[in-house]
Structure formats: C-alpha cells, structure tokens
C-alpha cells in the first residue's frame, strides 16, 4: 500500500495536520502566529547547515528552529515589541539561510522543494519521521493540556495553581520546532504557518470548548490534506500550496456560513 506515492503523500499530509491542529489552536489563542513564521523561516538556515555538515535535514531544521524559538522567547519584552523582534529575526534567518545555501558549491539543492514542500517525494523513512514527530507533539500537548490552557488564560492563575507558565511556554516552543521540522517536506517553509493557523481559525466558529476546537481543527486539516492532494493530482497543481488553498477555502466557507446564520439571512 505504501508503495503508492499518493498514499504516502496523503498519510504525510494527515500526519502534519494532526500535529498542527492542537498546536495551531494555542498559536491562535496566544497570538503567536508570527512566531510560527519566524521558526519556519529559520528552518531554511537549518537546511543549509545540515547539507553543509552532511547531517539529516530533519535534525538540522529542528535544531535551528528550536534555537530560533528559544531566542525569540528569551528576547521578548526586552526593548522591542514582539512583532518587530519577530520581523527582524524571521526575515534575517530566511536571508541568511538563502545566502548560506548559495555557498554550498557541489551540492545541488532544489530550494523550491524546501520553500514550498515536496510532498509527492515523501519516502517511507520520511513518513516514519513525520508520524513519529506528530505523535510526539500530540502526546506532549495532551499531557500538558490543562496546564497549557491555564497558562494561556492567565499567568497568575497558573502560578496560583502551582504551575509554571514559563515551562508551559517552553513546551509549546519545542512542539513548534518539531512540527516545523516534520512539516517542511509536506508544505514547505513558507506555508507551515498556514497549516498551523488556518485549520484552527476555521474551527473557531464551530466549537464551544477548547477541546472541540482542537478536534475540529484536526478534522479540517486532514480534509484539506486529502482534498488538496486529490486536487493537485487532478489539476496538476503544486501539492503543498493546493493543501493550503483547500484549508483557506474551508475557512472562508465556514466563516460565511457562520456569518449568515448569525445575521439570520
């Protein structure tokens, strides 16, 4: 069954959607959307370094994404507004990454594949990495769910309940780095943030509890992956962007529907 490239691609897409959904909810609730971008852009630098050092792309991307995420967390609230800081770091990381790639003489790399993903080339090993990473992220978030939610709602409330919001923030940061690293092959650096945010945002109108929102986001993400790949196959369009397009269309439809039912048309 796994011999078929479409099957592997679909499984890869669904795996990323499952990891991205609960994490994406926290990214949306905590207004960290740009944070996802910064982490993802840093991954390009990680890819260049891992090719230069001849280590696995997944490991390189994850380490640099993690360093980036930790740096942002550490620098936040020290002089610059967080969006300014993220703007500086995200775009510099992307620029340094692209420059670093150009130094790699002798290695021919398809930059487009990393920027926009190459889900159709996913191997069995990639699939294991993606599902392993997704399981780790989902496990981490499920384990810390209540603590993460309490810290997101109010820091003092978390402290009074004996939790450490800084530790919970670190767990989100690590999960984000893992998700970025496993999602690079599927949707690419430029569209990872879309897979985090769009399904979560689309699920908002349908959910009455945080848990429901994460579940619905996972479903929307998985539908987008499956439908996007089918669309890419039928219309011969690039696969990663097609997945994001389906998610965006679902977001628009759900919002229009919610708006219509609220205004009683």
């Amino acid at each position: 069954m796994l011999d078929d490239f479409m099957t592997r691609a679909t499984l890869a897409g669904v795996g990323v959607a499952f990891a991205a959904a609960p994490l994406g909810c926290f990214v949306v609730w905590r207004r960290m959307a740009y944070f996802g971008d910064a982490t993802a852009h840093a991954a390009i630098l990680g890819i260049a370094l891992s090719l230069a050092l001849q280590i696995s792309v997944f490991a390189g991307a994850m380490v640099v994404a993690l360093i980036m995420a930790l740096m942002v967390t550490h620098l936040a609230g020290r002089g610059y507004a967080i969006d300014t800081l993220l703007g500086v770091l995200a775009h510099s990381a992307l620029a340094f990454g692209l420059v670093a790639v150009s130094f790699l003489s002798g290695v021919r790399i398809d930059l487009m594949a990393y920027l926009f993903g190459d889900i159709l080339a996913v191997s069995r090993l990639d699939l294991m990495v993606i599902w392993g990473g997704a399981a780790l992220v989902v496990g981490l978030i499920l384990w810390r769910w209540s603590a993460l939610l309490t810290s997101t709602l109010n820091e003092e409330l978390a402290y009074a309940s004996g939790l450490n919001p800084k530790r919970e923030q670190l767990i989100l940061t690590i999960s984000l780095a893992i998700t970025v690293a496993v999602a690079i092959k599927v949707v690419g650096v430029l569209l990872i943030a879309a897979m985090l945010i769009i399904p979560a945002a689309a699920a908002r109108g349908l959910a009455r509890t945080p848990e429901a929102m994460a579940g619905i986001a996972a479903a929307i993400g998985a539908i987008s992956a499956v439908a996007g790949l089918q669309g890419a196959y039928v219309f011969d369009t690039p696969a990663g962007p097609s997945i994001v397009c389906v998610a965006a269309i679902l977001f628009a439809c759900l919002n229009l529907w919610g708006w219509r039912s609220r205004s009683g048309v």
């Binding site: 209540s146 820091e155 003092e156 009074a160 004996g162 945002a201 509890t209 848990e211």
Partner: protein, 257 residues
Amino acid sequence: MSLISVENLQVRYGANTVLRNVSLAIEPGEIVTIVGPNGSGKTSLLRAIIGAATPAAGQIALRPGLKIGYVPQKLHIDPTLPITVERFMQLTDRVPRATCQAALETAGVPGLLKRQMSQLSGGQFQRVLLARALINHPDVLLLDEATQGLDQPGSAAFYQQIETVRRDTGCAVLMISHELHVVMSASDRVICLNGHVCCEGAPEVVASAPEYRALFGTGTGGALALYRHDHDHTHGDGCGHDHAHADAHSKEHEAAE
C-alpha cells in the same frame, strides 16, 4: 500557625524596588484588605505570595498543604478561544458538574454552566472567577482588585458575596482594593501599603490614620471621620517616601466616581 506569613519581604523589578520590609500574617477565617495607591506594590505582594514574583529578600511561608483560591484582577479571554463556564470551572481540577454548580451557587450565579465565558456580563464574569477559585474549597481566597470594571452597586454586592462566602465556608480572604469605602464593612483588618506597610489595623483605625489620609485624602468617606481612635503608629524617617502624590490620587478617585 498562620495561613500565610510574610517576613521582611522585598520585591524588585530590575533596579526598581516595589516592596520593602513588608511583614504580615493571615490567620484562618479573617478578611484582610490591602489598600494603597497605584504603584504601591499591592499586586506585587499578591504575585509574590502565589509564587509569580521572586522575593529579592525576606520570606514567605505558607502553611503546609495550604489551598489557595485565586481571583485575578482581570482575565482576558482571547475571542478566538471558545470556552464554556463549565469547562472554565474545570480548568485545573476535573471536578464533577454538581461541584461546579454548587460553587456557582455559592458565588451567587447559579445556572450559568452552559454559557460561553465571552457572553457573560462584567459582574457575572467576576463571580464565575470567584466560583472557580472556590471550587477546591480553599483555606484562603486571594482577590486582586476583583471588582475592577464593576459599578459601585455591583462591587458592593460582590463584597457582600465575599462576606457570605467567608461565613459559609470559613475561608480566610486576602484582597486588594482601592475602594476602601466599599470594603470597609466587610474587612476585619486593613493594611495600607505604599511600598511598605504604612499602617494597619481595624478599618476605622486605618481610615483615620494620618498616613492613610495623606495617601487618599479625606474625600473618600465623610462618615469615616466620625471614627475616633488612638493611633500609635509612628512613621520612621528611614522609609524614605513622600506623600506628594496624594492630590493626584484623590483627583483620580473623584474622576472614577
């Protein structure tokens, strides 16, 4: 032993010392109110007690196994986060629905269980926060300006609720308020804070203390002037603060009313 005892607490943010030499103790079942102008370190004191701020010096001792119910000053729920009152109540402890219902009744807002937090009025919201704090039967309730954003009848009703809660559950209450005229009747003890403990005692004692008057002016309640007391508190020269902001504060106070 005291539920909470604070000794010579000092809290600093960078080079800025917001609290120095603060000592106080909270005994079982009493209602203690902390009053003080903006920037006097009231919130920092509460943050230090719950462990959100690290003391630069001094000690905070909680009775072993002390259960704290905390009501934050303001809880902003991002509009993208859907959450029902019931789910909010179960945030840290997975308690049964009946327990949630009982806590909501104690807080004076029965029947909100299925509502979205975002649909509640200001008064309902604060009472749900109170109910959540009561859910694990705390030994002490900490409230940080819990009536911010409520009108005067609303906050008066809220403080009456606090008194009822104390009567019914026997928990101690430590609260911050800038509305001494509202909390007066409910408090057993008032601590006037301005970076350090200016004065403390029964509400009527504090209200007529010169230190309190200097901070808040006399406009806060003509009725309070009727109280007579022997004030034995002396203000050391070493504390190094002046009360020049008293005017600005009383203006602000009038504007708020």
